[in-house]
Symmetry: D2
Subunit: 341 residues, 4 copies
């Protein structure tokens, strides 16, 4: 069985495993205060070309979202996001568990935009019963989105402006960030993300690490005491160096970008094959998630050799998702393409 | 610098690293539904000699405590524990973050006992204003305790009886369980823990794994939908197999117990050295944490070559903690003993 | 200024004030354990023709919703409701503050129905990633709804059946219950509500009391320790008898229904006037809330003498809400009708 | 039965009832935005001789504590208080329900002091594992305390200084404030409380109102959006004017202080009788709560005619509490004194 159902079916990039093995019996202090974590943070600051950011390492995405969101919002505030946003759909209410409402707006191709946010937020403040409603305190987007789509730099900047206008935190979930930044249609850099968001994270779990998300806080207002928040959410890994070592490796010699690019190359090859062969795409994705309509017999045939995800039924047609990753091989893709014929 | 400040200064047991490496590029499904996790659960059931338990794998102790406690308690209930209990002291309010009060009783050598619990709980129900107070809904103990002490089987059974009487969940934090079960004064087995508690966990983070805690639910009442709870708390590791592989290795050929025993042997050697050399022990511990009073000059001298923890000042004397672990070597201990002279 | 902006612009029914005055200097115990509360509960049981219910008195609606919902749901569960539901819109996230997601379905005239609930819930359980999503643990409806509409007995029973099928609590927000039960299209009784829901409440705040909501728990599973929940949410009124005295008065000689009927009579008179005069109704309401489209000049003219609520702009037309209440007089309505001409 | 078990056994002061009756059928807007609330706030500002405070009205004490505390603290912070503090003992975990730990210090006669707070807080920040522990973010005291004792102005100022030093909010629970401010040993004014605390409240429930607590926020940092917090906690009374009318009455012609003084006079008369007759006092209280040891036969005899509270058994002696209130009459006290003989 070849797996395309998600981008975390395998372990870590071999260079990471090698480093974990090399350092395995070294003794270090715990909880991310070791030199590996410090070095990894330095490398990330370099990659961001920004020295004035705080870098924290957490284990997984849901944990990171709940930790960041609850550390930023006041009790009566909620997080504005697309209704397809991961925090709204697939985290078993982890954000609500911290006391905050997710304020879902109808998505357009998995995205929201500055105008939608502006309309929603100004609507809130113009309502005479505003204090009877959850106050929008944050905008949350995923980059790339859960639908494989990307935001342009302009779109990000516009949302950031609305956030400044209404004193909201702009938080970007980068669980698949590598697969966005290396997309051929991308025009955003890590440096831009530091400038045009308050907090974002660089996903490791889906991009070559065993696990791990690197949180970047660029707005000073949110930096203080963040470690308390991590610990309170059970996210302070005892052997924190495991995170440091992994991100150190990912941010040495551009490994993070190089392996992300592999996923994109494989995805684009698959996408081209889909369109060449006349399959109808469900979404026009330039990232590692590809969405296609399949008829039942083809879906059944493929499911004997491949795993992939049923995404929903739209107008009587069934859409499916195929994910590539840092580890997807040319052989795997070609075999799939062959079976698509 | 040789580190005795805690039991998680190093990576994982080499056999675990080997297995992680061997399986690294295999493709599996995520979130702990893979065969490694299933096999690990089977092995743990065998080790517990109990087929009627549910086994779940989480990443760390604080996360596990918050997940279990909030899944068991009703809103208005709290967890009774020793005031030295980890949940009361060192988790940045992770339990309170889920809405529950920690009901701390004064500890005796890090422990509470059935009579203390009975008095407290009956006191609650006998109070005419009971509904104005948090209802005790659970008893939480650590085995071994944060002070290195152990509960006897009889003590555990007695607390369990009080829990049955008042319909409370008995939850045992086994972050260091291996170092308790292999202590020379221990008379409890994994099978006993299944019988005389409702939920307990087998700590991996401190006992040979990179990370990971195996939660054992023996009371049917607490089994349903537990995975929802894990996900809600950000504890459902995407590459869940990493937990399965680690616990599979730990529960093959008794590795968990064999490496735990090493820590105990090293600790007992150190303890004997302390007493032989006339150092006053702060606590009479038979587990991997050893507590001793040191004068300032000795403490300062040692701190140049070793890390260890200041534990508190009592009657003008300063107590320190030295932890051994699965990875502590004879050489390390002998060097320390030499420097204690 | 004559107020139609809501149904709580005035104090309490004069008979209630009279009783509060008569009993003012009596000494009783606190927290609702006095004889007035007991008697009020008895009278409500009689009105419900059901002896096997628990009756609790709380102060306000948002407090009641949060208390009931958080006492019923497990952590990972949410409450299914119409997107127009009060808990979803106008409670500043009071439900989320207790850790639970509100699972909003698109409303039809302020309502949801059994099929919508069934589809949503079965969809949840059929999803392979169900444990990554909030589990529907309750259905919440308002009776009458925030849009003035009513559920029929058949509709209530059908939703109740779905709740039984999926082990969900069916909770009915009766903040305006009197104005529903006395509507000319109503076919539901208090006795029915005991049979076909698990918990509901009889609103006092909007129906003749200074404040107060009477919660009726008919499902034994939710009765235990409910007072702890009330206290935990700050809803246990010290001078609890104030609630008992008010509900005792409301449920003596059918006062609750008689004064509710007044609001309905006034509302129907207003509705008839609207349609007779050619105003377009925004909703076909048979309860005390009437919704009508007004052009800007008429709205402005009326706003000089009356208060009423802007409800939203639909297809370029502006809708407004006018509320009658137990205290609305014929004179007030006739004056308004006159000014509508 | 004459009741001394608490200070809320009766309704409201007759002048309040009169005003509620007079205004009963007036129409006003809801949620405390009416003129009565505005006027009441003005009167309170005058009584505080401070114009730069925000005044909000809530219904009850537990609700007020949870609302204030959760609005002030960051997630990882807790409230330092005496272990006898109301929030620690008698609110069914309402503070923990908002996610915050109550950090209880051992009380001295129901009080804590600046040194204890300083030691605790500096201890926190000096601990290398500080981020693993709940950060003290607030100091909470009750004035007078649950034990009837008072803080001097100097003691309040000293705690306030520590709060400034460590950037903590100083919050004073004034559920019985009138009974403290009119005590013969009191040297604090409302104006002082504005100066030397960040938030405090003036209790109405126990001091002449049917219900109601007036929250005074003097620190600008805590003023913004407070109404959102009230609504989120279910504390925004629909007919908010009921609170305004009551506090307007209480702060007209010094009614609040005059009726408080009555409780003190009665309490001092009772205290004198206790000591004159050789009863041993459990606490040397100058407020409306009097604590005395009674032997079993006397306690039993009295319990046939009076209600009073068992407070605890100390060194084999049983202590009881007798509360006077704004409504206690000379006749009641003299009858009790007579029966004490």
């Amino acid at each position: 069985m070849i797996r395309f159902e998600c981008d975390y079916t395998q372990g870590a990039h071999p260079l990471i495993m090698e480093r974990l093995l090399e350092t395995n019996l070294e003794q270090t202090c715990g909880y991310g205060e070791d030199d590996y974590c410090k070095h990894a943070a330095e490398l990330i600051k370099e990659a961001c070309a920004n020295d004035n950011i705080d870098v924290h390492f957490l284990v997984g995405g849901t944990q990171t979202n709940a930790t960041v969101i609850s550390s930023v919002l006041k009790g009566y505030q909620g997080a504005v996001c697309a209704d397809t946003g991961h925090i709204n759909v697939h985290e078993t209410g982890a954000v609500e568990a911290t006391g905050h409402k997710v304020l879902a707006l109808p998505n357009i191709d998995g995205k929201i935009n500055a105008k939608m946010v502006e309309d929603y937020v100004s609507g809130h403040y113009n309502d005479v019963t505003a204090s009877h409603m959850v106050q929008p305190g944050m905008v949350y987007i995923s980059l790339p989105t859960e639908s494989g789509t990307m935001y342009s730099k302009k779109e990000i900047m516009d949302i950031y402006d609305v956030c400044r206008k209404y004193d909201m935190c702009f938080f970007i979930d980068g669980a698949r960030l590598g697969y966005g930044l290396t997309s051929e249609i991308n025009d955003i850099s890590l440096n831009d993300l530091c400038k045009y968001s308050d907090i974002f994270y660089i996903g490791g779990t889906k991009v070559g690490a065993l696990f791990g998300e690197a949180v970047i806080i660029s707005n000073d207002a949110y930096k203080k005491d963040f470690r308390y928040n991590i610990k309170r959410h059970g996210g302070l890994l005892a052997k924190g160096r495991l995170l440091g070592i992994q991100f150190e490796t990912l941010f040495t010699d551009d490994l993070y970008f190089r392996i992300s690019k592999n996923a994109i190359d494989m995805a684009m090859k698959l996408k081209k094959a889909f369109t060449d062969m006349g399959y109808e795409l469900f979404a026009d994705s330039y990232t590692n998630q590809q969405f296609v309509y399949l008829d039942d017999s083809k879906a059944e045939q493929l499911s004997k050799k491949y795993t992939f995800s049923f995404w929903g039924e739209y107008n009587g047609k069934k859409a499916y998702r195929f994910c590539t990753s840092w580890a997807t091989t040319n052989t795997q893709i070609e075999q799939l393409i062959n079976d698509l014929k």
